[in-house]
């Protein structure tokens, strides 16, 4: 009996040792990120890179955020704001579109709607390299029309009260090299995943509810507005988190479509920062932490919903 208890205890101990070892593996990069970016310049030394910092120094963050004029390096602050300006509207439009599509494909099925849904889903798996050349060409063609509008807008002397307006509108006009162009791209290629999540969610809501409202005379819009939309919050949270994270973290579209530094999202700017030899590694680490912070915060605060989005990605969520 005694032997059994010891072997049980030993097994539990081994279990926790393994779990903690795995946790150390996942946290190692986080440790180095935090430790490095909190060191003062005097402390940044390769031989002691694994040692904790002597105190709370923000030099590396300052340089990653604001840049270093003496070296001519740009900070990441404007790119951080670009990512916000990109991710927030792209996320909201994607969610609304996905919700409507999901509603139609679950509650207003028509002949071939399942095949249509599958055809839409395929768009989620394609390597974007296979649409990149036409995408750039199309956006450049669109630019020939919209670029003059943007230039006119920016040249317009708005009254002082409205001086922020032309810049804001110009930012969102779809074109090659604008945030608006990138928003459009993310909304379009976000259709499959957002439609999938909403369709699966609405499929779980009894058809009888919808049928009964139809008999009561509710219309297409009425059923959506008064019955489905009010109970859609969980699906909206999942989609908003999923899209925000994907758009914030996206790199390929961003690097191809935004060719100028002042419109680039943070992933592109971080990649450039890390690729430049004049930027010290502690500044690179601070930059990486800044780029990761918003999505990490979302994950820490709303992890439960994040997980649901992940599992929805495997179709039968």
């Amino acid at each position: 009996m005694k032997v059994q208890i010891t072997s049980h205890t030993a097994k539990r101990a081994l279990l926790y040792v393994l779990l903690i070892a795995a946790a150390i593996f996942y946290l190692l990069p986080v440790y180095i990120l935090i430790v490095t970016s909190l060191k003062s310049y005097a402390e940044v030394n390769l031989a002691t890179m694994w040692s904790p910092p002597s105190g709370f120094h923000l030099d590396s963050f300052r340089q990653a955020w604001l840049g270093d004029p003496s070296k001519g390096t740009q900070g990441l602050s404007s790119n951080f704001y670009n990512s916000l300006k990109l991710a927030i509207p792209a996320t909201i439009f994607s969610a609304l579109l996905g919700s409507l599509n999901g509603y139609v494909l679950s509650k207003w099925r028509f002949r071939g709607s399942n095949a249509l849904f599958t055809a839409i889903l395929f768009g989620m798996f394609i390597p974007y390299q296979s649409i990149l050349i036409p995408l750039v060409q199309t956006l450049q063609t669109v630019s020939r029309t919209t670029r003059p509008w943007i230039n006119d807008l920016l040249a317009w002397k708005a009254p002082e009260l409205l001086s922020w307006l032309p810049g804001l509108v110009a930012t969102y006009i779809p074109s090659y090299g604008t945030i608006g162009g990138l928003v459009l791209v993310h909304v379009i290629y976000g259709i499959p995943i957002t439609t999938l999540i909403f369709r699966n969610y609405y499929a779980g809501i009894p058809d009888e509810l919808v049928e009964a409202s139809k008999i009561d005379g509710a219309s297409f819009g009425g059923i959506y507005r008064y019955i489905l939309f009010p109970i859609s919050m969980p699906a909206f949270v999942v989609v908003l988190i999923w899209q925000f994270t994907s758009v914030w973290n996206e790199f390929l579209f961003a690097t191809v479509i935004t060719n100028k530094a002042d419109v680039q999202p943070i992933t592109v700017a971080l990649n450039n920062l890390a690729g430049s030899f004049i930027v010290e590694w502690n500044v690179q680490m601070a930059g990486a932490l800044l780029a990761a912070l918003p999505t990490l915060l979302v994950y820490i605060l709303l992890g439960r919903y994040f997980m649901r989005g992940l599992l929805a990605g495997s179709l039968k969520g």
Partner: protein
């Protein structure tokens, strides 16, 4: 009543039409466009004709594909790299993910915290992952001494595990004069004893970073699956005298098979498309040891202006993903119709 329903049905179709058109153009139309471009002799930016879909260049048929598959050294290396990356990445994520899920399934204290730690890398961009792991796996040089993980290993007394990581230009393959090499020669499989069918060591560093990022995902999938298996089933097996190992081997693991299939498809399409991580961590690497088709395509189109070659690479990439995903999508659709 009937007319009312019909007009609503029309409204429904009207609302989904913009999305259908967008997908039709931006997914299927653009794929067709890329497919056509891959058949042209189009290797110069100056050939882009304003206001036209395609430049005025000769049609070359399959020439771009033939060139990639027969004489293009870089592409052959890329195919090998993708294969090695995909296999090791899938095996790594499935193995680690299942191990962690089973461990977490043992009524662990603080399960939510462990789960949170294993899964958080999913919330981070591949670019951040690449930047951090490039630094962690930096082998250092003669003037800096060991840095990053190598330095940590040295401090832990595990110096023998130090490696050149992603800067290692070596390719491991079966030597023709070894026993296995001799056997392969005797059955006419000589080609397997060449570097073309070897493992470039450098790419395993990228696989390590990718596994760090994605294994929590498989953990979450398996854990959800484990939680879906009724406890009575395991209890019944235990009553029949099965030990814990046998319960997993004969009851639990077979029931997780559909999850493994989903995971292979998800991980497979991610690894075939991998681009961001390679871009930020290594680029093409020593002797293209960490180059992949997705990176080659980007490089050759947006830096070299070889549009047709890039288009052909993209189509090959698309076909490889489609082989993996289309059967899955179709069976998914069929099973739903049955319900």
């Amino acid at each position: 009543m009937r007319r009312r329903l019909d007009s609503d049905r029309l409204t429904a179709i009207l609302f989904i039409t913009p999305s259908i058109i967008a997908i039709l153009i931006f997914v299927y139309g653009f794929i067709g466009w890329t497919g056509w471009a891959s058949l042209l002799k189009w290797n110069d930016i100056a050939m882009i004709a304003k206001g036209k879909l395609f430049p005025n260049v000769p049609f070359t048929g399959m020439e771009n594909y033939v060139r990639l598959l027969t004489t293009d050294q870089r592409f052959q290396i890329d195919l090998r790299n993708t294969l090695v990356f995909t296999l090791t990445f899938i095996v790594g994520c499935l193995g680690l993910g299942m191990l962690l899920a089973i461990l977490l399934d043992q009524k662990v204290k603080g399960e939510a915290i462990f789960r949170g730690i294993y899964l958080f890398p999913m919330a981070v961009s591949f670019i951040v992952t690449g930047v951090v792991w490039r630094w962690l796996l930096n082998p250092g040089n003669s003037s800096t001494g060991p840095v990053g993980v190598n330095l940590l290993l040295e401090k832990l007394g595990l110096g023998f595990l130090q490696s050149a990581w992603y800067t290692n230009p070596k390719v491991g393959f079966i030597q023709p004069d070894s026993a296995i090499g001799g056997f392969l020669h005797s059955i006419g499989l000589d080609f397997l004893t060449t570097a073309q069918f070897g493992i470039p060591f450098a790419i395993l560093s990228v696989v390590l970073a990718a596994t760090w990022q994605m294994s929590g995902y498989t953990m979450a999938m398996y854990l959800a699956g484990l939680r879906g298996i009724p406890e009575e089933l395991r209890e019944a097996a235990r009553v029949d005298g099965a030990n814990e190992f046998q319960v997993y081997r004969h009851i639990v693991l077979p029931m997780l098979q559909p999850i493994t299939l989903s995971a292979v498809i998800i991980l497979g399409h991610i690894s075939l498309k991998i681009f961001d991580l390679v871009s930020s961590m290594t680029g093409p690497g020593p002797a293209f040891a960490t180059d992949v088709p997705a990176y080659y395509m980007f490089d050759t189109v947006f830096r070299g202006n070889h549009f047709a070659r890039g288009a052909a690479i993209a189509i090959i990439l698309l076909l490889s993903v489609a082989i993996l995903v289309v059967p899955y999508l179709i069976s998914n659709m069929r099973s739903e119709v049955k319900q």
